[in-house]
Symmetry: C2
């Protein structure tokens, strides 16, 4: 059965999924670069960016797992880009250049309709205006039996969690303090939502925890 | 200069320092035993309990550091025992039996006066009824130039943090979900309180982070 998976979702020591003041300069907010540090050294990350080398330890293994058996992605609007409100034109095509690292259909949650965008390498961005359930249905259909990866950001993960729709979450907890920002789990009782830690690994730069839902 | 240090303070993945329903059966609340698991395997813990053996990796090293150069302790009332309200009698002498693992003066915060208790092995419990500042003054004086260790629990750590009195915190973050309980840092912005991560180590069963205050 196709699962909805969150992978490589990075959490600060103080529980934030992104720092304050997200925008074009700081896609993950102030401190966001430091959050991603565990990923940036991995072979998987370098490979995604057409580079050789990189580390091959536990951090890399967890980064790699995030791409296994994924047939479609779902992204929140803010994860697709810094543009807010109605799309002013069609110029913004994501943070990732001409050939984004998805290579499968990507469903972007938005309140503002927009025609699909076909990118190089198999990524097609579809814009979904009728909510998280509809996005999941469309992503499942597109995934052809493989899993759907929920890319984030923090607010989107929170919505799907509250709706009980996430089957598996991989969190990478980083030893950094953000102080403020988006706290995806604050006020949620993950245990009573049915989640348990089923796996944990100490990586080179992050503690990795996999949560699964046991209904 | 004598520092006020929190050491080996265990935090769950979801930010709790203790689980729900703390009491005689579950001093750290439901799930508390699982929280302490990183400590229970260490040589330091076994030594404290008169046993041989135990692991000697990063978890052990961090547990050991917590006892270096400590001249006095401060404990919240709940950390001293499950008794609430006025002391019914003098029978409760802490969780630790006749010879507690402190071996120095220990200042217990309480609203209810009680005469000091001298235990075997150098531990003397003093009961302080005039607040956290007074307890720190008395502990500093007793420590004779060495550091003061703030043992917890979560509410006590929070009070000292908010008052800007903690110089160093060592947190051991465990890959467990408690779901609910005491969240010592919730709603506090540790960065704006002046804290930064100055050290991190991936242990065998916990991620260790040391926060220091830079005024």
């Amino acid at each position: 059965m196709s699962q909805l998976r969150v992978q490589s979702f990075t959490l600060s020591l103080d529980g934030f999924g992104a720092g304050p003041d997200q925008g074009l300069q700081n896609p993950l907010g102030v401190g966001g670069r430091e959050m991603m540090d565990w990923m940036l050294h991995t072979r998987e990350w370098r490979k995604m960016h057409g580079q050789d080398g990189g580390e091959t330890g536990a951090d890399n293994r967890m980064a790699e797992q995030g791409f296994h058996n994924i047939g479609a992605w779902i992204l929140g609007r803010n994860m697709f880009g810094p543009v807010r409100g109605p799309w002013p034109d069609d110029s913004w095509k994501g943070w990732w250049g001409e050939e984004p690292p998805y290579h499968v259909p990507v469903f972007v949650l938005t309140h503002h309709a927009r025609a699909p965008i076909e990118m190089k390498g198999g990524t097609v961005f579809h814009f979904v205006t009728d909510g998280i359930q509809a996005a999941l249905q469309r992503a499942r259909a597109a995934a052809g039996g493989r899993d759907v990866r929920l890319g984030g950001g923090a607010a989107t993960v929170r919505q799907y969690l509250q709706a009980g729709l996430i089957d598996q979450l991989h969190l990478a907890v980083r030893p950094v303090l953000l102080g403020s920002g988006e706290a995806p789990f604050q006020g949620l009782d993950l245990r009573s939502l049915g989640y348990h830690c089923t796996e944990s690994t100490m990586g080179e730069r992050a503690m990795h925890v996999v949560l699964r839902r046991t209904p």
